[in-house]
């Protein structure tokens, strides 16, 4: 009895071999180091940017953020004008894109017949896949002349009493950049929102419709509230993308320093300024100032992204709460939800 046991153990030992014995810890160690590397890269990025901007930080301090000048001749640099340009373009693009994207997502999930749904969904995602440099090229050479010759004169003549729609018409400027950014973020927000809407349980829809709500009332009262945190997160992701976009903005915004109300005027953003000047930076201080800009950009995008992730979290609880509320509504009317 004892002997046969020992025999079995030895056989088992032989078949397993040394590879099998060390395989598990080795795989664990390798994959762990890969994951650790992914985390380390993130830390390294932050470290490199902070250390690269040290020279500019020593010269300008936090006043860099509140100073408007960007003077390469006198070596005076500040980020305020660029922060302003970034905020204006990203906020406006997000404001235009959000209702459009939600409307597209609603069409795709609620209205479109099934075969239109998948085709149109694919087309919207194709729009997101177009490289930003191509959108920039299209924006400056095709959209730009349209903005200069049609859109800006039209806006100027109808809304010219507002300070936003005054000034010289030009193919480049805030308006062109905002339109290009809108085209870039609509598909992002739309496809995330579409995913979210498909996860809303269909009893919610059916319940609201059975209670006599019209389709729009069902959307506004049930569907959108159920998906709200997720939609907010999608909008935040789109905003983050608009903030960080360098090429398309660099090619369309005009690249000037200064704060003004006119949407027709030129401006510049953090990302576009870095992309436009890094190669030609003539002094160490200018290079360091550009890295300082990158650090500000990193902080903004981290804040937006982490904020978006915290927004997504409560979504798991939301539909359940909605369902309970709906159950109560049914009970009050003497109906059963089942």
């Amino acid at each position: 009895m004892k002997i046969s046991h020992a025999h079995e153990d030895a056989a088992l030992e032989r078949t397993r071999g040394w590879l099998d014995r060390i395989g598990d810890p080795v795989l664990r160690a390798i994959t762990f180091s890969a994951a650790a590397l992914a985390v380390t890269i993130l830390g390294l990025i932050a470290y490199e940017l902070v250390s690269g901007s040290r020279l500019a930080f020593r010269s300008f301090g936090l006043g860099f953020i509140t100073s408007q000048t960007w003077d390469t001749i006198h070596n005076q640099f500040g980020a305020l004008s660029l922060i302003f340009g970034t905020a204006v373009t990203a906020v406006l693009a997000t404001l235009i894109a959000t209702p459009l994207a939600i409307a597209i997502a609603l069409f795709l999930t609620e209205l479109a017949p099934k075969h239109v749904r998948s085709l149109l969904g694919a087309l919207v995602e194709m729009l997101a896949a177009i490289p930003s440099v191509i959108l920039g090229l299209w924006g400056i050479l095709i959209l730009g002349p349209f903005v200069q010759n049609q859109l800006e004169p039209f806006l100027g003549s109808t809304l010219g009493f507002l300070p936003f729609f005054r000034g010289q018409h030009s193919p480049t400027g805030i308006l062109t950049a905002v339109l290009i950014l809108t085209i870039m973020i609509v598909p992002i927000v739309a496809s995330v929102t579409r995913e979210l809407l498909t996860t809303v349980p269909s009893e919610l829809r059916e319940g609201a419709l059975a209670l006599g709500a019209t389709r729009w009332e069902m959307v506004r009262g049930v569907l959108l509230p159920a998906a709200r945190p997720g939609i907010l997160a999608a909008v935040a992701l789109g905003f983050g993308r608009a903030v960080g976009e360098a090429m398309a903005v660099l090619m369309t915004i005009g690249g000037t320093i200064g704060i003004h109300l006119s949407l027709f005027g030129h401006s510049d953003t953090l990302a576009a300024r870095i992309a436009g000047q890094y190669n030609g930076a003539s002094t160490n201080l200018q290079t360091s100032s550009l890295v300082y800009l990158a650090t500000i950009l990193l902080v903004i995008s981290l804040a937006v992204n982490i904020g978006a992730q915290f927004l997504i979290k409560p979504i798991d609880r939301r539909p359940r709460r909605q369902r309970i509320a709906l159950d109560r509504a049914f009970e009050a009317q003497g109906l059963s939800a089942d």
Binding site: V26, A35, I104, V133, P187, R215, A308
Partner: protein, 293 residues
């Protein structure tokens, strides 16, 4: 005779509610049509302006500038793009798969959450910032521009895409496969590498293809990592600063004589990106259905 308590006639109020609902439906249809129209306008105008400039020379010649701006081609940029994206894929694919294996197969939940969060945050970092990072780091060590540096930046952009796509398909692999393998006495690492990963291979490759399409369209991280000048010959040495199709578009777009070539490069790049990402998405959808159903 008194009015019945409930009328079957549509009341004005209901009619108004239905009207609002229908109007909102029309708005949604309009928004969807607008998006499709914009896509069509972009694609058609790039195709219209770019396709005319395409000829065999465009793909086989590298003489970029000089006496005849309409002659020659951008072979140097096509080769450069291929080298840049190829090396980036060689870095990001194995690394991304390993990270995904760690997250979905081996890691305790809290470590998996940290790694997943790091990937998502990396994915959200503006690509120009990643370019600056690689530039400051490499300049300190290496001191000159090279395609390797560009590939490194592209690899950082691709890593979260590959890792999250792989993680997603690994989660789709039915746990009965793992349990069957483990029950047969197969060790954990053999189960992972010889059962789980092979059955997720299709999904991993399509996810990687999507990441390649994304990397091929990146310009910002390459701006100061590799060459902005024009080459007269095709070079595939990754230690040299190489051009890419996106950089060609960016350097040619404001030179009127070279704009035709910028459109042609944009057309080639757009076709590559749209076809690969569309094919990958179709394959991914089919693959998901196969594993899920």
């Amino acid at each position: 005779m008194a009015e019945p308590a409930f009328s079957l006639r549509t009341s004005d109020r209901l009619r108004r509610r239905q009207l609002v609902s229908r109007a909102m439906g029309a708005v949604a249809v309009g928004a969807a049509l607008l998006a499709v129209a914009v896509l069509a306008i972009v694609v058609i105008s790039v195709a219209h302006r770019g396709a005319g400039a395409l000829n065999l020379d465009f793909f086989t010649q590298s003489q970029a500038q000089g006496f005849n701006p309409n002659g020659g081609g951008v072979l140097f940029a096509i080769v450069g793009s291929a080298v840049l994206v190829g090396i980036a894929t060689l870095i990001a694919l194995p690394l991304g798969v390993l990270v995904a294996i760690f997250i979905s197969e081996l890691a305790p939940p809290h470590l998996a959450r940290i790694a997943r969060m790091a990937l998502d945050i990396t994915n959200g970092i503006p690509t120009i910032v990643i370019g600056i990072f690689v530039f400051t780091m490499l300049m300190a060590i290496h001191g000159q521009q090279s395609a390797i540096a560009g590939s490194l930046a592209l690899a950082i952009i691709m890593l979260p895409l590959v890792a999250r796509a792989t993680e997603e398909v690994l989660l789709l692999v039915p746990s009965s496969l793992r349990e069957a393998s483990l029950a047969l006495g197969v060790s954990r690492w053999r189960t992972t590498l010889q059962v789980v990963v092979p059955s997720a291979l299709g999904g991993i490759l399509t996810g990687t293809t999507l990441a390649i399409a994304r990397a091929a369209g990146e310009t910002a991280p390459l701006l100061f990592l590799t060459s902005l000048g024009v080459s007269s010959h095709a070079d595939a040495n990754p230690f040299h600063p190489l051009q890419s199709l996106t950089l060609v578009i960016f350097t040619y777009f404001d030179v009127p004589a070279l704009q035709t070539k910028a459109w042609a490069a944009a057309f080639v790049l757009m076709c590559f990106v749209l076809f690969t990402s569309l094919a990958a998405k179709l394959a991914l959808a089919r693959y998901r259905k196969k594993l899920g159903g």
